[in-house]
């Protein structure tokens, strides 16, 4: 069943192929306890040509890094069982992880978002991410990678 395909306004600046080719080497970890959010973000990111892995909670995310995985971008939910996003972010930074970590949360309070940011995030967005958020993050990632080179 195909409901219809529309061109995304956020991808209209470049051709879809250009966007995908630029992002082919970037790996993203989506950390969220909601299967729906994991599926949604997985799809968004794959549309941008990114390689995506998912984790159900902060502890699983930290363990991936402990076992040698690396990612360019981590999308971190705040409220998760076992280990929440703030704790996982602190652990990852304490381990020396320099990847871009972006909070994705439905927190309303600016204070709570600030506390989450202070755990070591680079950015914090409201859930769910939209194409414009991802475009922005990819620009920042590509900028960072160019600076390193």
């Amino acid at each position: 069943m195909v409901l219809g395909k529309a061109s995304s306004s956020s991808l209209s600046m470049k051709s879809d192929e250009d966007v995908v080719n630029n992002n082919n080497n970037l790996r993203v970890l989506v950390v969220d306890d909601s299967p729906m959010i994991r599926k949604l973000h997985d799809m968004y990111l794959k549309k941008f040509g990114l390689e995506v892995q998912v984790a159900e909670n902060g502890k699983n995310a930290v363990e991936l890094f402990r076992f040698g995985a690396s990612f360019d971008l981590i999308l971190m939910d705040k409220e998760m069982p076992v280990m929440d996003g703030a704790e996982a972010t602190k652990e990852l930074r304490a381990m020396g992880v320099k990847s871009m970590i972006v909070g994705v949360t439905s927190l309303d309070s600016p204070y709570e978002k600030q506390v989450f940011m202070e755990a070591g995030l680079n950015y914090c967005f409201n859930k769910p991410l939209i194409a414009d958020n991802i475009s922005f993050l990819l620009q920042e990632l590509n900028k960072n990678n160019n600076d390193k080179n």
């Binding site: 409901l3 219809g4 395909k5 529309a6 729906m36 194409a131």
Partner: protein
């Protein structure tokens, strides 16, 4: 407008969801992610939403039966439910969730109870509409053109 009568009906149904305020732009974002490689993406995400919702609604119901009310817990559950509902563009459900959280903040027990009943109605209505929509979409079959109906 599509010549296929089933597809026309589908377009009318879809338009009514937005006109009547059941869905918002976030649903359109979901549709834009659907493609030939993932032809049932929207329905799959919505099905996951039903699963999330069932769990959260049960948690809230159980919390509302406890005396005294734990408003913090109620708010936390509803916060999650609001987030899920936003993700599929469930506009009216999201609005009721926001109202419920206001009642939690003001510690209004009756408000919470009343609002939750309304929320469940909105959720049930939306679910029924979307189930009918996806069933019709399956009958209508895949679109031949690449254009999404406005």
């Amino acid at each position: 407008m599509d010549r296929n009568p089933l597809r026309r009906q589908l377009q009318i149904m879809r338009k009514s969801f937005f006109d009547q305020g059941y869905l918002d732009e976030q649903f359109v974002q979901l549709e834009e992610l659907q493609d030939e490689a993932n032809p049932n993406f929207v329905e799959e995400v919505v099905t996951l939403y039903y699963r999330d919702s069932a769990r959260l609604i049960l948690s809230i119901e159980q919390a509302l039966e406890r005396k005294p009310f734990d408003f913090n817990k109620l708010d936390a559950h509803m916060h999650q439910f609001k987030g899920s509902s936003s993700s599929i563009g469930a506009k009216k459900v999201k609005a009721e969730s926001t109202q419920f959280r206001e009642y939690c903040k003001s510690r209004n027990r009756e408000g919470c109870t009343r609002c939750f009943q309304q929320l469940k109605k909105e959720y049930a209505t939306l679910r029924k509409k979307l189930e009918a929509y996806f069933q019709l979409a399956r009958q209508a079959g895949p679109m031949e053109t690449a254009c999404r109906p406005k």
